[in-house]
Amino acid sequence: MIAFERKILENGLRVLVHRDDTTPMAAVNVLYDVGARDEAPEKTGFAHLFEHLMFEGSVHVPRFDYELQHAGGENNAFTTNDITNYFQSLPARNLETAFWLESDRMYGLDFSEQKLETQKNVVVEEYRQSYLNQPYGDAWLLMRPLAYTVHPYRWATIGKSIDHIREARLQDVKAFFRKFYHPANAVLAVAGNVDPQQVYALAEKWFGDIPSGAPNQRQLPAEPLQKQEKRKTVHRDVPQNQLYMVFHTCGRTHPDFHATDLLSDILANGESARLSARLVHDQKIFSELNAYVTGNLDPGLLVITGKPHNGVDMDQAEDMLWKETQDLIANRVADRELQKVKNRVEATQTFSESNLLARAMNLAYYELQGDADLYNRQTEAYARVTADELQRVAKEIFRRAHASVLHYLKNPGA
């Protein structure tokens, strides 16, 4: 449970405050309603590259990180397919520094060809480090365009290819900023040892005069209903095969989302979950298995992935996973098993709330979905899910025609 207050500035900036007098710190989170799904198909990876440029100095503050460090603060950011999120943690008594810095980079950035060039190189190295130079690192670069045909979730936040990053131009950067980085397209959440009235006053002072643009009214192509199973096989220099199966699901704000999420928990949340208990420990078909939902705002995916032991036939391994999904359709989940996954959801949420930054982030993220208080109603929403609902949703999700399957194989002879 995160208690909070809300105020919306005239320019449209949504401001949320959560007070916690037990900490000397403050967390400041600025969420922009823009992600990789807002990119053009021929200019992917842009939202994330832009995130890097947000640290390269703004109109009045040439050195963002230096100033924050000077106030004893730390910060970072991440970009997803849906959002770009910036967060700071600093001693509460230096709170105003965070407002100064965040507002100035919303006001305007100090762009230059040279800064863009350097950050393009940094992102190319990030691309290599996280995707290309890691075993199985490119699996999601392959999986997304297999699962999605028209929706922009078909590319990863890092971009379709290194070339898209290398080709980014300064004029694109400026246009992106004008379109998406303004008060009406942002949510500011502050948590910690702060007084709400002081936060509102600081928000007025630093953000109040930033002119607003139009909120991001995206019109993304909806992914059409998949009618046929899709399959792909690749060979790579890895020591063990990996299997990826993904199924289309609803988006995070859909009434079936909680049941969908609990289905993945029944399969793989915790050591006692079905996939691990049955296929890793009892039958020893796989050395590791996982299942989860992507939890995107637009319709997302339920993912099942695992590494069959060397020597196990891939088709046989895949059959075992299909059997588990069919079990969820054919048989009601027992009451105790359902209660178990609900208990885990509740505990995970409580554990994460001990982190101040997580509280600020969650408020901003659920406010974006319509109301920050949705966060506080999550445990309850999970608690309401029935075994019948699970069975109904399982029937909709686990169909051959809705699946995309990737066999990621080790090189022959390796």
Binding site: G72, E74, S89, V122, P239, E271, S272, N343
Partner: protein, 427 residues
């Protein structure tokens, strides 16, 4: 419009809100420390044993023992234990390290008692069923083989061997065949000899209920003292310092992982605080010289850092990064240049003030909440220190000068004393 060019006033004077741990003892003499606080209704109970991979007879023994405590007990199977832990949403985290082995239970207060019953069984009566041990080791062996394909993993493990020597327990690099050489009896022995209340302490943090002490006495108060000890292992001397290099060629690598560093000392050394601050200036935060130069100016890498690691019997320093293969040589050149600059180029007033402000804030952050404080307090206990260690750090931070930092660098971080590992395309 506010004056956007003018920075708001800041302060670097922070009061650290220390939670004074309340100390007590269980029936068997095991010390317990309570660090109450926090706003959520859950508690963390961490049991720390002062034995780790340093003290094992065979490779992977400490690691496997801690991970397999929950794989079956005298009265319950692995399935039952996992189901109950998940049902009570008790999160169990094993943390096997070089000098210590710890296991933590995170649990909502409303499920505390049944979770503690399980915790007791897992700690006191594990049986390490042969089949569970085999499954675990087979699966871990697969992970090991995948790690061998990661340049950063290769650099990390070869670096340990390089600075300590392959015979030394701190330097040993796990081999693929080690996973085949371990069995249930090895783990039973490690458990019997090292999970001993005389060799342990317990930390409880979070929302602590009033009857915690008696609950803990029921849980661990009768944990038995070790019957037999295999005796101290013969001390292997760590390798002498020198200028050794390992270059590992990884065909088709797109990036090389670099590690540059040397053996040093741990947090009990009189120069530790100065060294920690010197290290931060070099590569300990985003504003550091290495990060600003190698990432922000040159764009050679996604990240670079320098680090100090404290072990009970030693300590070491290292710089780590991954760079494109075409710029590996250039990045390495910048690393050595920054090491040289550290002892020859004094930090300007602005650089020094910023460093100090950042480190003060960062120190305050590291004490945020009872769980974080429990972590800080554990470090003190493991090294036989008390709160004055923190006060000394803050004093050093206030008074240290640019000259003292250069002096510290020339004493401990000379570029020509460094060892080097490159995994990828070194040439």
């Amino acid at each position: 419009m506010p004056d956007r060019k003018k920075a708001p006033k800041t302060s670097a004077q922070f009061e650290i809100p220390y939670i004074q741990p309340q100390k007590s003892k269980l029936a068997n003499g095991m010390p317990v420390y309570f660090l109450p606080g926090g706003t959520e209704e859950f508690v963390k109970i961490e049991l720390v044993f002062l034995s780790g991979s340093h003290d094992q007879q065979k490779p992977l023994e400490a690691f496997s023992t801690m991970r397999l405590l929950r794989a079956g007990t005298q009265s319950r199977s692995r399935e039952e234990i996992n189901e109950l832990l998940d049902y009570y949403s008790a999160h169990l985290a094993a943390d096997p390290q070089k000098d210590l082995s710890s296991i933590s239970l995170y649990v909502l207060n409303k499920h505390l008692e049944p979770a503690l019953d399980l915790f007791r069984e897992i700690i006191q009566h594990p049986v390490f069923p042969a089949e569970e041990v085999r499954t675990f080791l087979t699966n871990q062996q697969q992970i090991h083989l995948i790690n061998q394909k990661k340049v950063q993993h290769l650099a990390r493990t070869y670096f340990g061997e390089l600075i300590y020597g392959e015979q030394h327990p701190y330097g040993y690099r796990v081999r693929v065949e080690d996973f085949d050489a371990l069995d249930s009896e090895d783990l039973q022995r490690f458990h019997r000899e090292h999970l001993d209340p005389g060799n342990a302490f317990c930390l409880v943090s979070g929302c602590i209920p009033g009857n915690m002490q008696s609950l803990l006495d029921k849980t661990f108060g009768d944990l038995k003292t070790a019957q037999t000890l295999s005796g101290e292992k013969a001390d292997v001397k760590a390798l002498s310092p020198g200028r050794r290099k390992v270059h590992l060629e990884v065909p088709d690598a797109l990036q090389s992982a670099i590690r540059v560093g040397k053996q040093l000392f741990n947090r009990t050394h009189p120069a530790y605080h100065r060294l920690k601050i010197t290290n931060a200036l070099l590569g300990g935060y985003f504003g550091s010289r290495l990060m600003q130069n190698v990432r922000q100016d040159k764009g050679y890498t996604y990240g670079i850092s320098s680090n100090l690691i404290s072990l009970v019997r030693s300590g070491y320093f290292f710089i780590a990064t991954q760079t494109g293969t075409e710029v590996t040589g250039a990045a390495l050149g910048e690393i050595y240049k920054e090491l040289k600059n550290l002892r020859t180029l004094p930090a300007g007033e602005e650089e020094l003030t910023s460093l100090k402000s950042y480190l003060s804030g960062s120190f305050l952050r590291s004490f945020d909440g009872p769980l974080a404080q429990s972590e800080r307090f554990k470090e003190l206990l493991v090294f036989g220190l008390d709160h004055s260690h923190h006060d000394e750090y803050l004093d050093t931070l206030k008074t240290i000068t640019a000259e003292e930092i250069m002096e510290c660098a020339s004493l401990y971080l000379r570029e020509d004393d460094m060892m080097e590992v490159i995994a990828g395309r070194p040439h």
